[in-house]
Symmetry: C2
Subunit: 123 residues, 2 copies
């Protein structure tokens, strides 16, 4: 064995519900990490891809966020419905999922097209 071919870090940080930055793990169950981890195992990648819990990745406004190394591909707004595509396209076939990808200009910046996060619409 050797290094992981890919190492996926899923933000499992929690913030208070009212925090203006948002939260990657709002119900505290790290559900996205669990789903990705199970899907990676099911795809037979467990020995070469590790899906890790991470503390705050500091891209909260784009949450839920994750990053795939060594290629440093960041994803934002990831949900359960995206897990199968990320695993098959990116982790099996090596093609990042462009529709979920965070642009470099959106990372580590005070303002971008996603920031400040618009207020939630009221019904």
């Amino acid at each position: 064995m050797a290094k992981f071919e890919r190492h996926v870090f899923v933000c499992t940080n929690q913030r208070d519900a009212g925090n203006p930055r948002g939260c990657c793990n709002p119900n505290g169950t790290a559900e996205l990490h669990k789903q990705l981890s199970q899907a990676v195992s099911a795809a037979g990648l467990k020995t070469i891809v590790r899906v890790n819990k991470a503390g705050c990745l500091d891209q909260c406004e784009h949450g839920p966020t994750m990053v795939v190394y060594p290629e440093a591909v960041w994803y934002g707004g990831v949900g359960a419905a995206d897990v199968a595509e990320i695993v098959q396209s990116h982790l099996v076939e090596g093609r990042p999922v462009e529709r979920l990808r965070l642009d470099d200009a959106c990372i580590n910046t005070a303002t971008c097209t996603h920031k400040p996060r618009p207020p939630a619409s009221t019904p």
Copy 2:
């Protein structure tokens, strides 16, 4: 701003004191993460290097462990006394600290020169 130039993940997982695999964060204070984070700030690297908490990196027998991406350099047996050298040599000057580096052959393997971990010597 853009992606971090380096992204450091420090294992802050806790195991029971008697766990034969050992533990990267035995007293639960994530002290190594805190020390690295403070040293990175003091070195003026905060906007380009992120020091992140991570869940179990699964290299427990080599702990305390950390990994630096995108170069995928793994360190094991890291303590407070190593923090300044890691920051200056690796994160400032780009030269990994070879004496702390985990060999590829020691990662994701059931046996290596560190495994199984020898029993703690008794006084």
